[in-house]
Symmetry: C2
Subunit: 342 residues, 2 copies
């Protein structure tokens, strides 16, 4: 039970930040600062541009002014929803830690950065400990790539293999995402460019998180980037293009982890331009004794992403200082009351 | 990390006990005693009659000899898989507690007995505290009626209603279960007999457990017992009967809980004789922001039941003394290593 309201700075007021600002308000968290680099948002009221659509008296500042925002806000949490990689969000995490402010981010790598960005993670861990605050990564994968899977696992006698499939419509994420997934390329061009990338995909961190939580040691972990194609022309309205039959409609990132203990984790993240019959899907299969397949059709991904993060705030505040990934935290909770009464 | 093997007595060597004995062996738990009231099992080797089908040198004793089994076994856990209600399993729980042996049971009421059997639960709680041991209830509902649901809940911003549906084939559970569910009765006869029962069904405890774990106060909780019927004749091979069109093929127990905080829990437990198209299903829907429906088709119910209990053993041993229902425990874990190394 916390006596005082949680005081939050939101860093990144894009699509996710705009939902989070409303969630914070509805859970009794006080917004005390807002930062965004987008010129079209700087100077606007964070409440008004959010899905709350109500004036909160908190203007959005450019990251150049982040130092002043932190000095004035007296925040105890900073929510960072800007980019995916630790190198990209390092400065914001460092700024929060230097001010002794707990930080939580949607940046996917922060979910389990210990292998891919060991040095940066350890530097942040040391800094957070020095300033007595906590850093963590949450979002969609905290529940759907993490604790939901370990919950079902707890009903298994023996796990030989965990298969996770997530499919989403890449056309909803702008032209940057289309390019990143090779949409519109020939399969040959895809294989020579996109498929050669060594950049880990989101499910890379998910597999590592699961191994850590389940007590498994990784022997090998590999990533394959496979093109998806279609047998009919697909028109992509948002990009104004047609994808010919047999050309690339998106990508399936497959990360396969072999463990010393035996079980294999195989996670598939498929982002493609949809045909009429495709729907968003989340599916997790545990093969062993027994076999269990858990399916969620059309999950509300943006809401799940934001709610998972906001529901973590009380545990973030209570966690020991340092960079504490959520595999080391208790399972997350749904909070009914205002978060400061949780 | 426990240095020594867990030493377990299994009380109840029926279908579930026979699976559990194998699971214990495969997880490095030592079987040190076995009790069963069934004359056809007494005197036989517990390993040989189990699904392990291997001699373990542990003869099954009648409950009359339970005192001697406990005195000789030097057990630290007793697994009780006999009956459903606390009144029915009270003696075995008391026997374990008096010997300072932690007890865990599949008895459904023990999952959350605080309302339906308050006095007995408190008596057991006091006894367990006196003898420095722990009592709890686990099984299928520990994950599927409990922690799996609270895991998905943690990805919700707002929950208005939780709907849980479990459907199973009553024909697999013997003639006692068929009678209990009114199979073969006319709908009128069902309404005058079965439907008037005040005995809580399994989902009664599930709703109460969820409210406790989610921090909700129950305002009202009601149970309805509804007959299921079919539009074609169904032949029940196991019972050698035909059920005419429109007569009762089984029952749906619906427990509805209204909470002071607003959310409603509605759980449906449907046990019926199957037609060709029916399959076992588990479905949990959270209505609110967002809506999320999690589906598990054809869950391996017996394996899930037994694995959920066995996976709880390390937490049972580590829990504080008393009757500790699992809503007060950490979320359950899958254990890869032998349990005494967990």
């Amino acid at each position: 039970m916390k006596e005082h309201k949680i005081r939050a700075i939101v860093w990144g007021c894009g699509q996710m930040g705009q939902i989070i600002i409303r969630y914070l308000q509805e859970k009794g968290v006080e917004l005390v600062g807002a930062i965004d680099r987008n010129a079209s948002r700087v100077g606007k009221d964070a409440g008004e541009i959010s899905t709350l659509k109500r004036f909160l008296g908190i203007p959005i500042y450019h990251p150049d002014k982040a130092e002043q925002v932190f000095q004035k806000a007296n925040a105890n949490v900073c929510i960072i929803c800007t980019r995916s990689l630790l190198t990209e969000i390092y400065d914001s995490l460092e700024m929060a830690a230097q001010h002794g402010v707990n930080a939580i981010t949607l940046g996917e790598e922060a979910f389990y950065p210990w292998t891919t960005s060991r040095d940066l993670s350890e530097k942040l861990d040391t800094l957070a400990k020095k300033h007595n605050c906590t850093i963590t990564g949450s979002g969609y994968q905290d529940v759907f790539g993490g604790h939901l899977i370990t919950s079902v696992a707890a009903a298994s006698h023996r796990i030989d293999r965990i298969q996770i499939l997530t499919r989403y419509n890449i056309a909803q994420y702008g032209s940057f995402a289309l390019d990143l997934n090779g949409v519109g390329l020939s399969v040959d061009a895809f294989k020579q460019t996109i498929a050669t990338s060594k950049e880990p995909f989101v499910n890379w961190y998910v597999n590592e998180w699961l191994c850590s939580r389940l007590g498994w040691s990784i022997r090998t972990q590999n990533q394959e980037l496979l093109p998806t194609t279609n047998t009919e022309i697909i028109h992509v309205t948002s990009a104004g293009i047609d994808i010919p039959v047999g050309d690339v409609t998106g990508m399936e990132a497959v990360v396969t982890t072999e463990t010393e203990e035996g079980p294999i984790i195989e996670s598939h993240l498929m982002g493609k331009v949809y045909t009429h019959s495709d729907i968003d899907i989340y599916e997790c299969t545990l093969i062993g004794e027994p076999n269990t397949t858990l399916t969620i059709r059309q999950p509300g991904t943006p809401e799940i992403t934001c709610a998972s993060l906001v529901n973590r705030l009380p545990q973030l505040i209570d966690a020991p200082p340092g960079f504490q990934t959520t595999d080391k935290m208790p399972s997350p909770n749904y909070w009914t009351l205002p978060l400061h009464n949780s």
